[in-house]
């Protein structure tokens, strides 16, 4: 059962002079078990969309269905709270949500809120700590004593410890250095492939979309502009620039070479195959 949005509309500050319609009759079905990217310019509604997934926001019109739970304007948030155990949402710059005395206690906070025993929560916390690549000897440190990149990982561990089936992340790699960003994305791939988690990533990084995601949802002005497999989306001649996103460098160079006369036969899927294809065409093989 996919995650489904049916004619969902949402307005901020309704009935006031500041009313702003962030989602306009959105129809969307997100494939379970895949990594989907959600892209679009600032203000296109991405943030509003994902906050419906764990009932932080209730649609004013229409219905959202997640993991067999139906969410519409008639629901009481109380009934939907349990959804948050199954849909983990990580906001942008999540470092600011750390507050506990020690790192391990902070990671345990989530599981404890969902009625785990102290033992269970501790185990989940340690498991999450190692998943994000942090050493166990950090466990007793204060979350304020570590670097920004480490704080980011602790915050994400805090959600992973809840062990949700669906993981939604808003720009998880913003501000991280290249190695940190790569490790983060590889973790998500691992969670998807090994634990079959459904992953949604809101991002501006087209290279990330190309390298790590299966599907891409394109938003603009509160509506869904496009929803395709990543491989189809980046097919030659497609309007990636319809929303002024920059082509990932590998595709940009490929385009450029082809425009200037190269054929580049054969499968060009990554930098190594591109290099091989160029070398072959130039007779250097």
């Amino acid at each position: 059962m996919p995650i489904a949005f049916e004619k969902v509309s949402y307005t901020y500050a309704p009935n006031t002079p500041f009313a702003y319609e962030a989602l306009k009759e959105v129809d969307l079905a997100i494939e379970m078990g895949k990594i989907s990217a959600i892209i679009g310019p600032t203000g296109s509604g991405k943030s509003t969309l994902v906050q419906h997934l764990n009932a932080l926001l209730l649609p004013h019109k229409g219905t959202v269905t997640v993991l067999n739970k139906v969410i519409n304007s008639q629901q009481k948030t109380k009934d939907l709270k349990s959804l948050r155990q199954h849909v983990g949402l990580v906001f942008q710059f999540p470092e600011y949500q750390l507050f506990e005395e020690t790192i391990i206690k902070d990671i345990m906070f989530g599981p404890l809120n969902f009625k785990c025993t102290h033992e269970e929560a501790k185990n989940k916390a340690y498991k999450a700590l190692s998943l994000v690549g942090l050493e166990f000897d950090l466990a007793e440190k204060s979350p304020l004593d570590i670097s920004g990149g480490q704080k980011r990982r602790v915050a994400i561990a805090g959600i992973l410890a809840i062990d949700p089936e669906v993981l939604v992340l808003d720009e998880p790699t913003a501000g991280l250095d290249p190695q940190g960003a790569k490790a983060m994305m590889e973790l998500f791939v691992k969670l998807n492939k090994e634990e079959h988690k459904t992953i949604l990533i809101v991002t501006h990084d087209m290279e990330q979309v190309l390298n790590y995601c299966d599907n891409v949802v394109v938003m603009q002005d509160g509506k869904i502009l496009n929803h395709q497999r990543v491989s189809d989306y980046f097919e030659r001649g497609n309007q990636v620039n319809e929303i002024h996103m920059h082509l990932p460098p590998i595709l940009a160079i490929k385009e450029d070479l082809i425009e200037k006369g190269f054929k580049l036969e054969g499968e060009v899927t990554d930098i190594d195959t591109l290099a091989k294809s160029i070398a072959k065409e130039l007779g250097y093989e």
Binding site: K81, R84, L89, F91, Y96, Q97, F99, G110, N113, F114
Partner: protein, 264 residues
Amino acid sequence: MNNITLGRYIPMNTVIHNLDPRYKIMAMLTLMVAVFLPSGFYGYSIIACFVFVVLLLAKVKIQMIVRALKPMIFMLSFLLIINILIIRTGYVLFTYSGFTMYSDAIFQTLYITVRLFLMIIISTLLTVSTKPLDMTLGLEDLLSIFKRFGFPAHEVAMMISIALRFIPTLIDETSRIMKAQASRGVDLKEGSFKEKIMAILSLIVPLFVSSFQRAEELADAMEARGYAPSAKRTRYKQLKTTYKDVIAITLVFGLLGGIIWISL
């Protein structure tokens, strides 16, 4: 958040709105003094009429005043009951099986009620017709008289205006933190006492931590732009006295004079 609209600034283009904030602050203080003088029935009627006229000029809605006064009703009713039981002066109004109600009980309560209402209305008049920043400017100017005694008028004004600038930002940030923690299962309504404490901590600690960091970064930015609290600086916004301000303050002083005379 809309409950804080009590007395909040409402942008309009009235005579009162356009008065210089320094004069409005002085007028408000003067009127407060007048309210505290024992001027009797006539005195308070005059003050009330004056205030009523200002309310009209400032185009303040009756609902706003009613909302500002409503919270007091409960307390005043309570006071009335206590006074009826305790006060035994004045003439007898009414007797019933051993219990006597005296007139002064009513009058004292009325007296307090009128004063309280007038004070609330007068301060609401100020806040409703004056932008917070303009009030800060007015305060800064008025308080700078005390600079010679070491009072940091400018620094206080700067603190207030920065606080005002960041209120919406802090509200947004609180909302964000609440959502982030809600996503981790925080529920402020349910749970044991301990759980509720943790829930509140999970909101307050991040807010404090980020506020401290913000303060540090802000201080750096201010210094980098040449700010030094004790140093001399000019001010972009200048307040100018107009004839309307002079008339207004003269009227208010005149009123005070009259009230003083009546009270004697």
